[in-house]
């Protein structure tokens, strides 16, 4: 019963006062961020990351993870009450959640969301406990060529599978990789792309980049496209109105099971993420249902499927991140970055060198999900009131926290100027429809990719074919090539169709 021993160790870590406190703060702040419309999980984590620098590594990870899944939890509140998804992941929740609220069943929708999220989250945690150790065992036999190829595959998959143009996604990964190279080269000591600046010798700070790219530019984007409604919906938060009836339990249990499985599978894949998981689970549910016409008009099954799927995906995303060191999304890249800041090299060795962190984090997921369940059901009334905060009060406060976070990292005002630069860059990228998330992935993985590239060549005595003669590495690279070829093919086909449309 090794798994049992590991879990016991995890719980002994997670149940310590400092971890419980970190978990509580994390999920509460996360829910808060998720509820606030116009502040996404990414911006929230970037903003709150400096808070965790003073904590021990385990507590920091527990708290950041809590912020992440807490925000997904909270995002559904805004989706149901305002028809405005607090974060992208809950866009699908709007489809049936808002109609339910209009029918006066807001309380029930919110309670269902909380329960469904809890179930989805728990399912994915069990999967993580079962699959992370074998995955780690495989990855531990990897040498530098395999690592390099796996990173290439992870980056290409993450950037091409997400929405928008795959070529733009790959280009942004490359920009991120390049930004990751700025600073002193570890192997030769040469200063690269610093252009004589002493501040850049340490490289570009992940926090500063993320705050600019996701914090500042998000505010600017909100000024471009904003329609901010505030909720005046009355919510009946009595126990009787919120708790699902027997038939509703029966209707939704199947949806929740399917949502959990689908969400977990999609969550493991790089690039897909919680939003896509919710969407796919919702469309599957609609197809399976005997009464598909109810969907979009307040079908509780649709809501349950979407919510279990997005939370399962959110938890499952930790599987590749923690066991392989390959993040599938920008949020996961931020969490890996936090590990690096705490001096822990992400990858399959984490489970061996820092078992307390690995199992403690998993155990904290249970506790965090339970806290969310206990916190959210009685506190729904308070979260509803949060929605009344108007954006013209919110954005100056967000700006203040950005300044505070950027400045307090090393008490250097230069960092705030860098935030402005990255904020403008992020906004410009948004205008040109260049995705920002792949850039962050590249930034975090860039130094590691280069190191493995060079080490592989060194160990093979300068034979570049090593990436193809090692079977696992070759397999990974072939998969990457297939992904690239298929995206080029589908984009050519789309172009042909578009040209035909233009001619017609």
């Amino acid at each position: 019963m090794e798994l049992f021993d590991n879990m016991m160790m995890g719980f002994s870590v997670a149940i310590s006062w400092s971890s419980l406190w970190a978990c509580f703060i994390g999920v509460t702040l996360g829910t808060f961020i998720g509820v606030l419309p116009g502040v996404g999980a990414l911006a929230g984590i970037s903003l709150l990351m400096p808070l965790t620098f003073g904590l021990p590594a385990t507590d920091a990870m527990v708290m950041l993870a809590g912020i992440y899944y807490g925000s997904i939890y909270g995002g559904s509140t805004a989706a149901i009450l305002l028809n405005l998804p607090g974060s992208v992941t809950s866009a699908v929740t709007c489809f049936d959640g808002y109609p339910m609220a209009q029918k006066g069943e807001a309380g029930k929708a919110l309670a269902m969301t909380t329960l469904a999220s809890f179930i989805g989250g728990c399912f994915a945690i069990v999967l993580m406990m079962a699959f992370a150790p074998p995955l780690v065992a495989v990855a531990q036999s990897f040498g530098s060529p395999e690592y390099f190829s796996m990173t290439v595959l992870g980056l290409l998959a993450a950037s091409t599978l997400s929405q928008g143009s795959p070529i733009k996604g790959i280009a942004m990964v490359v920009v991120g990789l390049l930004l990751g190279l700025v600073g002193t080269d570890i192997q030769s000591g040469a200063a690269r792309f610093t252009f004589g600046s002493r501040e850049l010798l340490d490289g570009i700070s992940l926090v500063v980049l993320a705050m600019g790219l996701f914090g500042v530019s998000e505010i600017l984007i909100n000024f471009t496209s904003s329609v901010f409604a505030t909720s005046r919906q009355k919510v009946d938060t009595s126990w009787h109105a919120m708790w699902p009836t027997k038939t509703e339990w029966k209707d939704t249990s199947g949806s929740m099971a399917r949502g959990s499985v689908l969400g977990s599978i999609i969550g493991v894949l790089p690039g897909a993420g919680a939003a896509i998981a919710a969407f796919i689970a919702y469309s599957v549910e609609k197809r399976v249902s005997k009464t598909p016409e109810r969907f979009g008009k307040g079908a509780i099954e649709g809501l349950a499927a979407a919510e279990t799927a997005n939370n399962a995906a959110a938890q499952a995303a930790f599987i590749p991140t923690m066991s392989l060191g390959i993040p599938g999304s920008a949020t996961m890249a931020l969490l890996l970055g936090a590990l690096l800041i705490h001096g822990i090299q992400p990858g399959p060795l984490v489970i061996q060198t820092n078992p307390d962190l690995f199992w403690g984090l998993i155990a904290s997921f249970w506790i965090g999900n339970l806290m969310l369940l206990v916190l959210n059901l009685p506190l729904i009334g308070i979260w509803v009131r949060m929605l009344l905060i108007p954006y013209h009060i919110l954005y100056p406060c967000i700006l203040f926290f950005i300044c505070l976070g950027a400045y307090s990292a090393r008490n250097n005002p230069i960092d705030i100027f860098l935030v402005i630069v990255f904020g403008l860059m992020g906004y410009g990228m948004k205008l040109l429809q260049l995705p920002a998330a792949p850039l962050l992935l590249g930034l975090v993985l860039g130094p590691m990719a280069e190191e493995h590239f060079r080490r592989a060549l060194l160990l093979s005595r300068g034979d570049p074919m090593v990436f193809l003669t090692e079977p696992i590495s070759a397999g990974l690279l072939v998969t990457a090539a297939i992904i690239v070829a298929s995206t080029i093919w589908s984009s050519l086909r789309r172009r042909k169709r578009a040209l035909a449309d233009m001619a017609a």
């Binding site: 003073g54 143009s165 070529i167 733009k168 280009a171 490359v174 920009v175 990789l177 390049l178 190279l181 080269d185 192997q187 030769s188 040469a190 690269r192 792309f193 500042v216 505010i219 600017l220 000024f223 471009t224 496209s225 013209h392 009060i393 954005y395 100056p396 406060c397 700006l399 203040f400 950005i402 300044c403 505070l404 400045y407 307090s408 008490n411 005002p413 230069i414 705030i416 100027f417 935030v419 402005i420 904020g423 403008l424 906004y427 205008l431 040109l432 429809q433 260049l434 280069e450 590239f453 060079r454 060549l457 060194l458 300068g462 034979d463 984009s491 172009r495 578009a498 040209l499 233009m502």
Partner: protein, 159 residues
């Protein structure tokens, strides 16, 4: 969204201007990177120098830039409306905070930040902004006094 999408996209020689700009910027950045990496050491194939990785990435980026130009030829993307007032006000607010925090202390910096940021939105709401600024001043005072030694920020000028 829907209101914007009805506008016809701007084109230069058949290329969608927005996509052309995105592609060309990426192309040029790629070339600059490749050029800059010439100044580092290449090393040998066995002992790869600091120039090789950025060089490869630079050329890849340049190629992707051209690909974006061609992929975006038929794109219907239109330039979105840019809220210049908000962009300027928010950059000015952050810049003012950065300039003031070391010399004038946190209180002055917060007031500058909040009131400049307030210019981004219409109408200008002095009373609301004053309340926000006072609230944040109270917050930072509690933070600095409560976590003495962990958060080192000067509250008053010359403190």
């Amino acid at each position: 969204m829907s209101a914007e999408d009805t506008r016809p996209p701007h084109r230069i020689a058949g290329f969608n201007t927005l996509e052309l700009a995105a592609g060309l910027i990426i192309f040029v950045v790629g070339l600059i990177v490749a050029f800059e990496s010439l100044s580092y050491s290449f090393g040998t194939l066995r002992n790869v120098g600091p120039a090789v990785f950025p060089m490869l990435l630079g050329f890849t980026l340049a190629a992707l830039g051209l690909a974006i130009v061609f992929e975006g030829r038929t794109s219907l993307a239109v330039a979105p409306y840019v809220p210049w007032r908000a962009v300027l006000a928010i950059c000015a607010a952050l810049g003012a905070f950065a300039l003031l925090i070391d010399t004038a202390g946190a209180y002055v910096a917060i007031f500058a930040l909040i009131f400049l940021a307030g210019l981004a939105d219409r109408p200008f709401r002095p009373v609301t902004l004053l309340c926000v600024a006072l609230g944040l001043c109270a917050f930072i005072t509690a933070l600095v006094l409560g976590l003495r030694g962990i958060v080192n920020i000067d509250l008053l000028p010359g403190a």
